[in-house]
C-alpha cells in the first residue's frame, strides 16, 4: 500500500525494502518455487493472470490454479498471440544487436517459420481459424514490423545501459496473508518493453484482435487489472515515473490491410493507490476461500469473454460435477500449471 502521495520508489511501502533489484536474475526453471504457502492453497505470489482469474470468478480460479484443469486442446487464440509476441521480441532483439530493419525482419520470419514448422498452430472453430492461421500470422508480423519501422516510441535504456525489454519483475507489497504475517504478498509479471514516447515513459503492451479498433475496444482497458499492475510495476522496477501503458493493438483483416492503432491508458498516483487498496481486499478474500477450501461461483461472469469454458460443468449438480470435469478437461501436473513465479 502506498501511504504517501509521493511517487513510489524502492524505499516506499511499495516495493522491496532491501536493495534487491525487483528485476529477476536468471533462475533455473527446475527451481521455480510454489506460489502457495506450504501445505495450503493460500497464494502469496500473484500476477495479472492469476488475479484476473480470481477477480472474474473464484471457482474459475480454483479449477485453473488449484486443481489444474485445462482444455485438452491447445488454444488457438493463445498460441497465435504467443507467436506474434515472440516474433516481435525476436525483431527487438535483432535491432538491439544493430541489425538493420530488413535484416531483423528476415531473421524474425526465419525463426517464425522454424517454430511453426516444428509445431503448427492448433485448430479452432471456423471463424477463429479464418482469422488466425499461418498465413495471417505471417502477414500480421511483417505488416506490424514495417508499419513501425520508424517507431517514434523509442526503447528506454536503463541506467545499466541495457534496453528495457523483456523485463520480468517481482516486488513485495507491504501486507501479508493472515496465515503468514512474515511472508509479504508479491506481485510478479513480465513487461515486454518500456518506451520513451513524447517525453513520457510508458509500458508498451501488444495485443492482437479481429475486433474493430475503435473507442469501444480501448475502453476495456480503463479500469483494467493488467494495465494498473503494469503501470505500478514500471514505476517500481524502473524507480522512475511511468505514466501508463500504450496498448499496441493489431487488427487482423482479411480483405484489406491489417490495421494498427495505439491506445493510451494512464494511471494517476491516486488510482494506483486505490488499486492497491482494492487488491488488499481481493487477496484477503482469496485467502478466506483457500482457508475454507471453498471458492464460490460468480454466476454473473459465466457469459463473459465468449463464455466460460467451465460453464457446462458448473451448471451440473455438485454431486456429479467432478465426473464431468474429469471427462471434459485434463489435469495438468503441478509443474505445468500456471505459476507467477516461473521465469519466462
Amino acid at each position: 500500500m502506498i501511504t504517501s502521495s509521493e511517487e513510489p520508489s524502492a524505499d516506499t511501502d511499495v516495493g522491496s525494502s532491501d536493495d534487491t533489484s525487483p528485476l529477476l536474475p536468471d533462475i533455473d526453471h527446475a527451481s521455480d518455487a510454489s506460489p502457495f504457502l506450504p501445505g495450503t492453497h493460500i497464494q502469496w505470489a500473484w500476477d495479472s493472470t492469476s488475479l484476473n482469474l480470481f477477480k472474474t470468478c473464484p471457482r474459475l480460479y480454483e479449477y485453473t490454479m488449484i486443481r489444474g484443469y485445462t482444455s485438452p486442446h491447445e488454444n488457438l487464440h493463445l498460441r497465435f498471440g504467443i507467436e506474434f509476441h515472440q516474433a516481435l521480441q525476436d525483431y527487438d532483439t535483432c535491432r538491439s544487436q544493430s541489425f538493420d530493419h530488413d535484416e531483423a525482419v528476415w531473421e524474425t520470419m526465419y525463426s517464425l517459420q522454424l517454430r511453426l514448422a516444428a509445431k503448427p498452430l492448433p485448430n479452432g472453430n471456423e471463424k477463429a481459424v479464418k482469422y488466425k492461421n499461418l498465413d495471417t500470422l505471417r502477414q500480421l508480423v511483417i505488416d506490424y514490423l514495417d508499419h513501425y519501422q520508424n517507431d517514434p516510441a523509442k526503447t528506454f535504456i536503463m541506467v545499466d545501459g541495457k534496453p528495457a525489454t523483456e523485463l520480468s519483475f517481482r516486488f513485495e507489497l507491504d501486507f501479508s496473508p493472515d496465515a503468514a504475517p512474515s511472508q509479504p504478498y508479491i506481485l510478479c509479471g513480465h513487461i515486454d518493453r518500456v518506451v520513451d514516447f513524447n517525453d513520457a515513459l510508458m509500458i508498451l503492451d501488444r495485443k492482437t484482435t479481429s475486433s474493430t479498433l475503435g473507442s469501444y475496444y480501448f475502453e476495456q482497458y480503463e479500469p483494467n487489472n493488467q494495465m494498473s499492475l503494469y503501470t505500478l510495476a514500471g514505476k517500481v522496477v524502473l524507480k522512475t515515473a511511468v505514466k501508463g501503458v500504450i496498448i499496441d493493438a493489431a487488427q487482423i483483416m482479411l480483405e484489406t490491410e491489417n490495421r494498427f492503432v495505439r491506445g493510451f491508458t494512464y494511471r494517476t498516483q491516486d488510482q494506483l493507490e486505490e488499486w492497491l487498496q482494492s487488491l488488499s481486499f481481493t487477496l484477503g478474500y482469496a485467502e478466506a476461500c483457500a482457508t475454507q477450501e471453498f471458492w464460490p461461483q460468480n454466476d454473473t461472469a459465466c457469459d463473459k469473454f465468449g463464455g466460460c469454458k467451465f460453464r457446462s460443468c458448473c451448471s451440473k449438480s455438485p454431486q456429479v460435477r467432478d465426473k464431468f470435469l474429469n471427462s471434459d478437461f485434463v489435469t495438468l501436473p503441478i509443474e505445468e500449471r500456471w505459476n507467477p513465479l516461473k521465469n519466462r
Binding site: 535483432c94 520470419m109 526465419y110 517459420q113 522454424l114 516444428a118 499461418l134 505488416d143 490491410e257
Partner: protein, 81 residues
Amino acid sequence: MNDINELFSRIQVINGLDPTDLTPQDIDALVVFYRYRRTRKASLQTTGTNIDDVLGKPQVKISPGTVRRNLHYPDTNVAPS
C-alpha cells in the same frame, strides 16, 4: 520467378518443408510475397487500381543468401547459395 501466382505456389511449397530444408531464398520469398500482397490490398482499397497494372508483376529478388545467425534454434542445415 517473376509472377505472383508462381510466388504464391512457392509459399505453399515452403509451408510443407521440413525446417532443415529451408533456404535463405525461401525466407526472401516469404518477405517479398507478404509485402507485395499488402501493397496490392492497399492499392485496390484506395484507388481501385490493381497494383500489377501500375508496377508490373513483382520480381522476386533473390538475395546472395547469406546465412544469418539463428536466434533460438541449433544451427540447421541451411546453406548459403
